[in-house]
Subunit: 434 residues, 2 copies
């Protein structure tokens, strides 16, 4: 999969998340001898679905490699960890019943902890905003946790594992800090501390906490293949996304370096996962959004409902103007185009190829939130192929019009489309020769 | 300097900042046809000194390329921008008197703005901490600005350049937000807004704001050489540093990707700048710190006084245990060893080669702040060379014992030491063949 010492591959959502990353990761683990999967950013706001081993898994904080007995799993320093979610996810995905699972997972001692108070802050802050300014957060406390991290009163996993009195004091100070800002916050400090004490004992007993930076470095030196799984999507990046309607971490490729401590010089493949149309959860700019029957059809056939939130996703045509930007920033070496089968029954399919603002052609997406509302999208129209693609396994066997659609995307963003998803099942994947 | 399409080089401080990065950058600009220099993180808390063109420049927020008439300068999206500091730095370094300077600089419209209120929050928060917990911030509001960014009520340059009413409203909300937490904050809102209105006019008139991501991408495609200047130092990184005694951004190499939007696949050289001994400003762990006459001597001969803060720097022996970690995370392709001449008169020189905690040999630095206090350092001792090196221009002409010292460092971290600084002047530099 990679050459020389560039044994780190990064897989990223190239849009606003929910691109179907789980299935591609699953394929790569199975077919490319991935030894380590690692999460580098985000928290349990993300959500992958993996259909494998005759069951459906949903992961929010766990790396997908947990379902493969030969894969080691790292929760990197850049992740913000909700320990309640971590343990309950292990439980409800049936991982705890597998023997030796604990020897295949390590949480970075440098990762920051998400507390209940962070979720409450999320809610209070969102409530305090006028309707038009609401960010549409998932209320998991992810943003406030990253904010604490930068404020340098964040609390890390290492703090929990060290002196518990000191940890408790830090925690109390954190609660006080936020209570000043949002007096309505209610926290049962003693209960929370008791719970964290339990988490601590479990983490210590199972030896789940460690130096993930050093571990991955050793693995790399031993020639092992590391796959970093991005969460969220490039257009939700705190820097390059549609700020402030973004997630509070770098979901672009740089987040893999900052979030697990691998240098750029170790990164070989960067795989962008792109849905054949566009979706977005919550509020925020979405120029190609559809409010008509096509939009409803995408939502229904595509089963576009959030795994984490249960919210219906907004749907629209694929936005190649934004995808080109996403490719510029991430340097994708390959694209995985997913859910192409969802377009099988559309008589006409559109793709966004340019933006105008006040009659002027734009060379880059607006950096200011309000400008998005006034964007005029330039579309290219394709005739639909009107044929099922779900059984197809070779690119040449796709309908001619379907291949044209794929090739247009490829030419537009100048990155080879190597994987094409044509159904929810593991097998419904076309892999093109490079 | 670089091969193929990897035209981005990153220069980083490998310790706690103040490694003498300015001089190496100056050399690279002069000798490696650098077309673009870019700042990717931090704010005006950093400080480079560049001695060139017969004068001394000190830069905090400006990229060093500003002194070279052929160099374009980018302040990337990852930087937090204090506009007062920006304009006054241009003025007091004499840049405003050069014709056409404004055509050689671009501030990212995606960069976040530092406001007076952020500096006040810095001070209030630091005051609220017990003496032992103080972080030793420079009170420039850098941490709170990054914290606002993650909280998603940060205000970006693009907001300032768009509708001013809307900007004012956002600004007022930000002040209110922080006033709830720190009621003693005093801000003259109208005065601040009037000042920002002026800044806005100046930025617009001089066309200083733009899409730096797209710009750098174009430059790369045209084969231009880009040099990213890290600020602070790797051991101050928000993730990999001695948290919470760190700066609030990624000062390791990943920060170059997240802070200017270049993919890892574009990064060729990563140059780590390492002082021949160790210094640190403010509070925080420093296992090799010296409290004896050797420490004083390093401080005096090394002129170890902060450019930005005027604070005396703490001094000690070089810490190779931490430097190896820094190399692991950043993947340095070359090292610049600076201020070697400062060691010329020491009869004995020590280097840290390992850490023990409670009698146990450590494989990685502690992730928890308190553990640092109990670290036992293992040293290797070198006899000093007791000869001036300041005039030396070839590695072979360095005293034998001095070369041994350099080679030991090189072998320990397994990265070639390509540049060796032996004096403050531009010329006092040894460049070794690779
Ligand atoms: N029809 C169809 N469904 C797919 C395809 N690829 C993935 N899926 C399904 O789409 C959903 C993936 O979305 P989600 O888990 O939200 O995305 P992720 O977070 O990026 O992994 C799951 O239900 C998958 O089984 C595909 O090519 N076609
Ligand atoms: N004696 C000596 N001084 C040097 C050398 N390299 C840089 N300097 C001086 O050290 C200082 C650089 O430190 P500083 O500006 O704080 O570091 P920076 O922020 O990393 O650029 C300046 O005064 C330089 O002139 C060297 O090799 N020897």
């Amino acid at each position: 999969m990679t050459s020389s010492n560039k044994t780190v591959s990064v897989l990223l959502g190239a849009q606003w998340g929910d691109e179907g990353k789980g299935k591609i990761i699953d394929y790569l683990i199975e077919n490319h001898k991935i030894n380590v999967t690692a999460r580098c950013q985000g928290g349990n706001n993300a959500g992958h679905t993996v259909v494998a081993n005759g069951r459906k898994y949903d992961f929010h904080i766990l790396p997908s490699g947990i379902i493969s007995p030969t894969c080691f799993n790292v929760i990197g320093n850049g992740v913000v960890v909700n320990l309640d979610a971590f343990f309950s996810e292990l439980a409800h995905n049936g991982i705890l019943e597998e023997s030796g699972w604990e020897k295949r997972i390590m949480i970075s001692s440098e990762a920051h902890l998400v507390f209940g108070v962070h979720s409450q802050v999320d809610g209070r802050q969102e409530d305090s905003l006028a309707a038009k300014n609401k960010i549409g957060t998932t209320n998991r406390g992810i943003g406030p946790t990253y904010s604490s991290k930068c404020f340098r009163n964040g609390i890390r996993v290492a703090d929990l594992m060290a002196d518990f009195e000191e940890f408790s004091e830090k925690y109390r100070r954190l609660v006080e800090h936020y209570k000043k800002q949002f007096p309505s916050i209610e926290v049962n400090v003693d209960e929370e501390l008791a719970k964290f004490k339990q988490h601590r004992e479990k983490l210590a007993e199972l030896k789940l906490v460690g130096d993930t930076v050093g571990f991955i470095h050793e693995q790399r030196n031993a020639g092992k293949q590391v796959l970093v799984e991005g969460a969220n999507g490039a257009l939700l990046d705190i820097d390059f996304g549609t700020y402030p309607y973004v997630t509070s971490s770098n979901s672009t490729v740089g987040g893999a370096c900052t979030g697990i401590g691998v240098p750029p010089t170790a990164v070989g493949n960067v795989i962008g996962v792109v849905k054949a149309y566009q979706t977005r959860v919550g509020t925020g700019p979405f120029p190609t959004e559809l409010f008509d029957s096509d939009g409803e059809k995408l939502q229904t056939i595509g089963k576009e409902v959030g795994v984490t939130t249960g919210r219906k996703r907004r749907c629209g045509w694929i936005d190649l103007f934004l995808l080109r930007r996403s490719a510029m920033i991430n340097g994708y070496t390959a694209i995985a185009l997913t859910k192409l089968d969802i377009l099988d029954t559309f008589p006409t399919i559109k793709v966004a190829v340019g933006y105008k603002l006040n009659g002027q052609v734009l060379s880059s997406p607006p950096a200011q939130a309000n400008a998005w509302g006034a964007i005029e999208v330039e579309y290219k129209e394709f005739e639909g192929w009107n044929e099922p693609t779900v059984g197809v396994r070779k690119f040449e066997d796709l309908p001619e019009k379907c291949r044209q659609y794929v090739k247009f995307i490829e030419d537009f963003i100048k990155v080879p489309i190597v994987y094409i998803g044509v159904g929810a099942e593991r097998e419904s994947l076309i892999v093109r020769q490079q």
